[in-house]
């Protein structure tokens, strides 16, 4: 195999892998604090992509696309806070049994609801916002400007996320809740409030992925499904609850899919990810970085 082509596959894999990781980090972040899986994560991705599309096309104009991303994130953050408050919080109040089942039922119901809502509000058609940037090159790979923007945007958002979690009071509350729920409560922190913020942040990361990827993977009611599936694969590989794990696993999955589909056979691209998942589950069932109660 020619080394130029090989490096092209590698770069393509890295770009897509880091973008996948954003989704996984949102899922794992919510899990690490609330100890529940949000199955409707893809619908928040979808919401982010629609918001971005409507903001850019109807209000901001193509040149202000970068203003749309934080705005979309902010709206989804708010929606997430409201959903947590009225639909998810009840499971943490009092001594409810089977929290997991409750969370699963609610978030799966939300998934169905939001998909249908999108069809009703915007129709079954796809949309795409105008391109964020023209084609460019990363080393030897001709790459779409949109992908490049998504890569940089993801890195910026992850950087901000890291700063918030590591350096602020809110971040301390988030980390404390992830590491020791009882400890943080008896230190006087309203853990339900922390949950609400965590859920808001987690879903706004999904929204960021949706908004950044809107010109690449388009906007339609089910566009979150693929991102969610990749997100869950990454979590299994990287370890549930581990943010560095999600990043590494995202890169790994992106590169393996890219190389596997051209070096072995292109017809089973999705299978390579699952083989990796199975291999990890066999060798290290908790994932590469899996450890209980860990964040950042």
């Amino acid at each position: 195999m020619d080394s130029l082509l090989l490096s092209q596959y590698l770069i393509a894999g890295i770009v897509i892998g880091i973008i996948y990781a954003l989704m996984a980090i949102g899922i794992t972040f919510i899990y690490s604090i609330m100890k529940m899986i949000n199955w409707s994560m893809g619908e928040f991705y979808m919401m982010g992509s629609y918001l971005q599309y409507f903001l850019v096309v109807y209000f901001l104009g193509a040149h202000l696309w970068f203003v749309g991303i934080p705005l979309s994130m902010a709206v989804v953050f708010g929606v997430g806070m409201i959903i947590q408050r009225y639909l998810l919080r009840p499971m943490f109040v009092g001594e409810m049994e089977r929290k997991d089942e409750y969370a699963t039922v609610i978030t799966v119901a939300l998934m169905v609801f939001f998909r249908n809502l999108a069809v009703v509000l915007a129709g079954p058609n796809q949309f795409a916002p105008p391109d964020y940037a023209g084609p460019t090159h990363i080393g030897p790979l001709p790459v779409s400007g949109n992908r490049f923007v998504a890569l940089i945007g993801t890195l910026v958002i992850l950087g901000l996320f890291y700063l918030i979690v590591k350096k602020t009071w809110v971040g301390k509350a988030l980390r404390g809740s992830a590491q020791n729920r009882v400890g943080i409560q008896t230190a006087g922190v309203n853990v339900l409030r922390v949950d609400q913020i965590a859920f808001g942040i987690g879903v706004s990361l999904a929204a960021a992925a949706g908004a950044l990827l809107a010109p690449i993977f388009l906007v339609w009611p089910e566009n979150g499904a693929v991102a969610t599936m990749k997100g869950f694969e990454i979590i299994v590989i990287g370890g549930l609850g581990s943010i560095p794990g999600s990043l590494v696993a995202g890169l790994l999955l992106g590169v393996i899919e890219s190389l596997g589909s051209v070096l072995i056979s292109p017809s089973f691209k999705d299978v390579y990810g699952f083989i990796l998942v199975l291999a990890i589950l066999t060798i290290r069932p908790t994932g590469l970085f899996g450890e209980r109660q860990r964040v950042a």
């Binding site: 009092g94 009071w169 301390k172 980390r175 400890g183 008896t186 230190a187 006087g188 922190v189 109660q293």
Partner: protein
């Protein structure tokens, strides 16, 4: 409850059942402001359940809890902490992936400290002073998971002193599995805080020598009920107490 405000904490007929098991039954306690009260009793007598009821991790099946004559048994744990009740756990609940100093800052997140942004440098200074006091200052940038069990107990206790306002400090087996040097640091800090800041302590412990040195009075809990109260010397001669310990 007392009208003169001498009583800081009172429980009235407090009962907690887990299914058919009665862990705490009709327990009434009065703790004076400024007191250091010991809670003793055989294993499984309901001491930790009592701590959990007062701190709010459990909801009582029946009965009431008053802090400064106000009912608090309907409040969540964090609200009780904001009202001035802190507790420690036998297995220290520290934040393993935070540094020692970061652990100390967590109580500043309490709802009662909304001015934390403004006071940030001051809070950090207080935390460092407390770490100095409990002889952990040299470790302030280490992750809590690298500390020994005894050091984590010390950290947990020191962190509790960061709560503001602090009225009632509940400690669950603070001396269990702790080396003599750390034990004496814990004892000194309890005495100092009681003397200087008037903080009331309720200490659950099996360590009779420590209880004798620290506590004004002890309450003996057996099968969820308070069977005796007085100085350690007084209760040690009550037949029911002797029977509980020997029988238990």
């Amino acid at each position: 409850m007392s009208a003169d405000g001498i009583q800081l904490l009172e429980t009235k007929n407090l009962t907690k059942r887990f299914g058919g098991l009665v862990a705490v039954e009709n327990l009434s306690l009065s703790i004076r402001r400024g007191e250091i009260r010991g809670i003793i009793g055989p294993n499984g007598s309901g001491k930790t359940t009592l701590m959990n009821l007062i701190s709010g991790l459990y909801r009582a099946t029946a009965g009431a809890i008053y802090l400064e004559a106000q009912r608090i048994d309907g409040l969540t744990p964090n609200v009780r902490t904001a009202r001035g009740i802190i507790r420690t756990f036998q297995v220290p609940k520290v934040f393993r992936n935070m540094t020692v100093l970061e652990n100390m800052l967590v109580p500043a997140l309490s709802d009662s400290q909304g001015d934390r942004y403004k006071r940030h440098p001051e809070i950090v200074r207080e935390a460092q002073a407390l770490l100095q006091f409990v002889q952990l200052a040299h470790m302030e940038n280490r992750l809590a998971q690298t500390l020994s069990g005894g050091q984590n107990q010390l950290l947990q206790i020191a962190r509790g002193f960061m709560v503001q306002p602090l009225k009632l400090y509940l400690m669950d087996e603070p001396f269990a599995g702790v080396n003599p040097q750390i034990k004496s640091v814990i004892m000194e800090s309890i005495k100092a805080m009681n003397r200087e800041k008037g903080i009331t302590f309720v200490i659950v412990s099996h360590e009779m020598p420590s209880v004798r040195r620290l506590c004004d009075r002890v309450s003996v809990i057996h099968e969820g009920r308070c069977i005796a109260e007085g100085t350690l010397e007084e209760v040690a001669h009550i037949p029911a107490v002797i029977e509980a310990y020997i029988g238990g």
